[in-house]
Symmetry: C2
């Protein structure tokens, strides 16, 4: 008997109909001979409505109280889901993050899971009941206050709980049939990826693919827990995320693609620090200032120094939302850093190709850049990892760059595979 | 420095404006040199909205899950209230019933408080923060599941917490200026009662006055905790409920009224079991059947037996909502009980006069009945306690009975005292 942890997002339980549909799926999984533990997010727009209430009361809600407020969202959805399952004749018991043993640090709004002690979940399973656990929330180890895990927190709850319970698989339900070679909303010919490795999934998430957040994939990798990303609106197999996916492909005889996916991100901005003295420690000082402001840097490029001037340029990308703040921090340190000028551009886009196959296949970057050149796309920055190549281009070039690249690596499907279920009953 | 526990009901925190208004009052109480602990109900119609959601999912929600669902209501209001207080520059910390140490039995929907262990509340007070506690909810001692306390549960939370913290007073905020000699919505000349004993308050609650529920008053009496019932819409003194109120009247020189209040109740029905064999144990059998169905009996009257027949009639009142169920139970036991006929009347009303003064003043009942007779009101049943006289009359006579009685005992105010704040900002 397999132990399956299933996670349903807010769009799957947006209303009473959605909740009943999900309840049927859970009961079916159970009747197929599996033990099931469910993690659920708040219904549809609940979180936004609660945030709106908070804003009516104060412009700056304290983190502790905001977490207390927001966690009522999952409390509602999980209780309703448990009721819906009971109506189908099976016992379900809902548990808050705290009751489920999701222990975190005390950082409200962005808490990290320290430990999971799912004693009550195990007892419920033993009693033959289906545990329904609130996603996105936990309890601080030190203060015993309620915390939330931040964006994508319910996925993290599901994976962490699955790891603690030694589950056989963590199923992440969404509104598309899995992970695709590109966002099917942008590239109609995007192809479902049947299997993908943790590493590739991590790179995709870091490059703007919105299916799974990096911390959740990281957690699964650490515990060797397979994730199955699939749609709550269909019964199709989705995408399996696991170790060394390329060696285990079920699609026997299918040639392993060199590139697994193309990803893009329009949310970043680029800062160039012009005329930095080419001395030891300059970069450390620049990025020390940015780190102090808790801003995440993505790509960094430093050009070789022009010998005549002894100065160099350093460019980096960061979330567009943090752009102005970073500029101010750097400007106020201009004297210390000794740079000549700051350039800012938030009309950029990042396009990446990801694939474990590129380890053993040389020439991927050449093919990538050639495709872009042919489409007339100018490359502003380049960075690479072992299994990823990313370029920064003008934002208006992102669409054509994505389509060209997707096609040139043979990822386009022969027929449309992706269905986005946004319209059905939500 | 006094420790004040304040309880605000759903109508006081119905929207963001209400929450801000209540926050100001809490901060003002603190600035006046008191320590404050707040108990708060769910906002306005939240509970009804959640029940509606549950009904959309299932016609018969399990109690455990219904409690999990409903308790999200206070979670929302308490977090928002804590935020509003923070905006006024004071630290507030919200606590669920479980976090506040409200330990109950495991009866979902009607849990009883077994113990209160407010360690975290005391710590918050020591830290200089204002604790905001969710009313209406607790955690089961045995199952560790979340429970709710049933109707009026937030008042009970407030009193229980105040007792556990040895508070100086428990302030119950409502939308009128205290407890009145009758419902000001019915009798415009109703007078605010400045002080009333626990016993009188208990009798009033049992007789249909809706200000405080009996269990809350009972709890306060057991711990000798003074309750101050007052309006959250004004700064006026309300009604103090405490021990031996009649001896402590602050209104020096004011003659102690014999009768403190008139109360009425239109929600009951009357069943008469006609022609019961006048034998030992008959009444026990009848009410045993009713008790088995968990139906609360109010008044019971047994007429003397007609010697010729050896049979008697037993009449009793009960909540109108339970009437049909009680009738069915009795009918199905007609052979065992041996009665001749069942009469049912849900067009009745109960009118009561309450006052500790009647202990030392004979003739109260004579005066009461004379007033009713003068007004042409026919009395169907009578019961008395040491400090209360109740009569059952035809429902159409309730209004005139109440007005006549209120006037005849000299309770009418010289001018209108009561303001119902229903219109202001709710």
């Amino acid at each position: 008997m397999a132990l399956v942890v299933q996670k349903y997002g807010g769009s799957s339980v947006a209303d009473a109909e959605g909740i009943k549909r999900v309840a049927k799926r859970i009961v079916a999984t159970r009747q197929a001979g599996n033990q099931v533990v469910v993690v659920v997010s708040a219904m549809g727009d609940t979180t936004d409505e609660l945030l709106d209430l908070a804003n009516q009361v104060t412009p700056a809600p304290p983190g502790r109280e905001l977490d207390m407020l927001l966690t009522s969202g999952e409390r509602i959805s999980m209780a309703l889901l448990a009721m819906a399952i009971a109506t189908l004749g099976m016992e379900a018991r809902s548990f808050t993050g705290s009751q489920a043993g999701v222990i975190t640090d005390e950082v409200h709004g962005f808490a990290r899971i320290i430990d999971v002690t799912p004693g009550r979940i195990s007892s419920a399973i033993k009693d033959g009941a289906i545990p329904i656990v609130a996603g996105f929330q936990g309890v601080s180890q030190t203060t015993k206050d309620i915390t939330t895990l931040g964006r994508g927190g319910s996925d993290t709850t599901a994976v962490a709980l699955a790891a603690a319970l030694s589950a056989d698989v963590c199923e992440i339900y969404t509104d598309v049939d899995g992970v695709f070679t590109e966002d099917p909303r942008l590239v109609a010919g995007a192809r479902r990826i049947p299997r993908i490795s943790y590493e590739e999934m991590l790179e995709m998430a870091a490059c703007g693919a919105k299916v799974l957040i990096p911390r959740c994939v990281e957690y699964a990798r650490r515990y060797g827990l397979p994730i199955h990303v699939r749609s709550s609106f269909s019964d199709k197999t989705g995408t399996w995320v696991s170790e060394n996916a390329e060696n285990e492909s079920e699609e026997a005889g299918m040639e392993q693609a060199i590139i697994s996916a193309v990803a893009h991100d329009r949310s970043e901005a680029k800062i160039t620090v012009v005329g930095v003295p080419d001395r030891v420690g300059t970069a450390a000082r620049i990025f020390g200032i940015i780190a102090e402001a808790d801003i995440n840097i993505d790509m960094i490029v430093q050009n070789v120094s022009a010998i005549a001037t002894g100065r160099t340029d350093i460019s980096f990308t960061l979330p567009g939302a943090d752009g102005q703040r970073a500029l101010e921090m750097l400007r106020s340190a201009q004297e210390t850093l000794g740079f000549q000028e700051l350039l800012y551009d938030d009309r950029i886009g990042k396009v990446s190709v990801i694939g474990a196959g590129m380890r053993s296949h040389p020439g991927v970057s050449a093919k990538f850049f050639a495709a872009l050149a042919e489409a007339g796309v100018n490359i502003q920055m380049i960075t690479t990892s072992e299994i990823r190549i990313s370029v920064v281009v003008d934002q208006s070039d992102v669409d054509v760059a994505v389509h060209t690249t997707h096609k040139s690596f043979g990822l386009d499907a022969d027929e449309i595979e992706a269905v986005v279920y946004g319209g059905t009953g939500r």
